[in-house]
């Protein structure tokens, strides 16, 4: 367990006959941003609730910020959490709300007020800090929730769908903050989301769950390679030059080429396994592009598919 800030070992949660999470094992180091992916009901929220001690595991063990699962209160001192469906007290002001949570973390009255002011400024709510939360937009509430998760300067922060309901600017601000937390303060972040480009943009590691089981864990590249999605390219050229482009690619080894269904100016180029058995990679498709260009065919567009996290995710989760 040395070095791992979050570590789960065979973590399992059952509700009667239903298994919400089965044998989950993974670890995250200081400063890691781990993206928790999975379709609805995959076990993402259960994972977060187990690691934040809201639920008790049926079996297995975990440690967070150096504390084993049986030291729940110590774990809660070192974590910040933004739950998926967290409600907010309608009549409290944003400032009172943050001050209350700071006080629950043992911070004195005056410092709690100062901390609340600073956090409100950090999430861009300083001008609305003294308004009732009932007057906040959904995005503002999410930002307030993130500020609340930071009141105790956590070693690990759990964010369940943090960007849901945010406009692009708000989303970018939140993701920027997540990266800052990890980079400059070494905070470990577990981020559950359905927005895969966010994960590719922000996360250093990805954990894919499906029906309570771990499908893959590693870097974005590792996860894509584990999924072994066959990469292919969509090549668009002028319709009159389609045959010449097709011949250029057909002359290459390890490629198959065919006209794309319903698109008379598009070729679908697929890399096939090479002689040494190495699975095809998206970079292999560059050779096809070079061949087309060398044949004197102007390329209108060349899009590589099957090499993104979305493709790997869909393959793993049967989407």
């Amino acid at each position: 367990m040395a070095g791992a800030v979050v570590q789960a070992k065979a973590l399992t949660k059952r509700y009667g006959a239903r298994t919400a999470l089965a044998d989950l094992s993974f670890s995250a180091d200081q400063g890691d941003v781990v993206g928790l992916l999975g379709p609805n009901g995959a076990g993402k929220t259960t994972t977060i609730r187990l690691l934040t001690t809201v639920l008790t595991p049926t079996s297995g063990d975990f440690s967070v910020a150096g504390h084993r699962s049986n030291a729940a209160e110590e774990i809660r001192r070192r974590i910040g959490v933004l739950p998926e469906s967290g409600g907010y007290p309608r009549h409290q002001t944003g400032r009172d709300y943050l001050r209350y949570y700071a006080r629950l973390h043992g911070i004195g009255q005056r410092p709690a007020g100062l901390l609340a002011d600073r956090l409100l400024a950090d999430v861009g709510l300083d001008e609305r800090g003294r308004s009732a939360i009932s007057s906040y937009s959904r995005g503002m509430k999410r930002r307030l929730g993130i500020a609340r998760a930071l009141v105790n300067d956590p070693a690990v922060i759990f964010l369940d769908e943090p960007t849901i309901g945010l406009d692009p600017a708000g989303r970018s601000q939140v993701l920027g903050m997540v990266r800052d937390l990890a980079r400059s303060r070494g905070t470990t972040v577990l981020l559950s989301t359905h927005t895969l480009p966010e994960v590719e943009e922000t996360c250093s590691k990805v954990l894919v769950l499906d029906q309570g089981r771990l499908q893959s864990f590693g870097s974005v590249r590792d996860v894509i390679e584990t999924a072994m999605v066959e990469p292919y390219a969509q090549l668009r050229v002028h319709r009159d030059l389609l045959t010449r482009a097709k011949e250029a690619v057909a002359g290459l080894k390890d490629f198959s080429v065919e006209q794309s269904d319903g698109q008379p100016d598009v070729l679908r180029i697929t890399a096939i396994a090479s002689a040494n058995g190495r699975p095809p990679m998206s970079a292999d498709l560059n050779a096809a592009l070079v061949a087309v260009a060398e044949a004197g065919v102007p390329v209108l567009s060349f899009e590589v598919e099957g090499a993104r996290l979305t493709d790997a995710f869909l393959k793993m989760t049967g989407g």
Partner: protein, 271 residues
Amino acid sequence: MTLPAEPEGLEDAAPTWLVVARQEMRDLSISGRALVLLFGLSALLSAVTYLAASNQALNFLERREAVNLLVQFAVAVGVLVTLVVSADGISGERERGTLETLLVTPAPRRAIVLGKLVAALSLWFGAYAVSVPYVLLLSGELGILVQTLVLSLVVGTLIAIGLASIGLLISSMSNSNKASLAISVFLLLILFAPTQLPSGLPQGLFFDALLLLDPITAGLGYISGQLIGGQAWTEDLVSLVSPVLIIVLAGGALLLGAPRLVRLVAGRSAG
């Protein structure tokens, strides 16, 4: 975007239960719930005081009887508002989705329930304060006034602590706030019913024991015995056993069982 610095000011931190209690009382106040409940109580006591005072003026009711009638109402309704607030304590947070954020703080579960209990009791003390001017109006003499205020404070507080504990217990075991409120109020009505029977329950050892076990009937009976029956405070102390017993049992179960009761979802398979 700047990032939060290390938490400061840990040295002057208040006990967690007090932090929770203060915040709950603040919420009750700013949401207007406390005000509405106490205003309702005030309107009811105004009506009862008017009726009691007119009956007293017409010699249908003696002064002590009039005061006793008012105190019975004040205690019963004061306890009702306390119960309503406590029955919302945990299930209300579940329903509003605010419980999870509370559960991931280091606040011990016992401190959470104790804070909520204290906040609910603040409604009882508010109700008591509201009743004081009415008692002052009806009592007429200092002796009756002091005796009534002391009796209603002591007995009412005992009943309120016990029933607020029961309300929180029910709330912690309910996923629906409506269910929690309905069960709690139904329970209160059952406990209050014997005091409303014109000739009381039938006589006999079983019914006597039943009345003694009912904290409201027993407690209000003790007050009546003092105010109307002229008993000394040491007489009929057995009537205060059930209010105290409820505090010990329900309060004990609540505080001892708090780690298992204060959960995201109520029920055995919840955690």
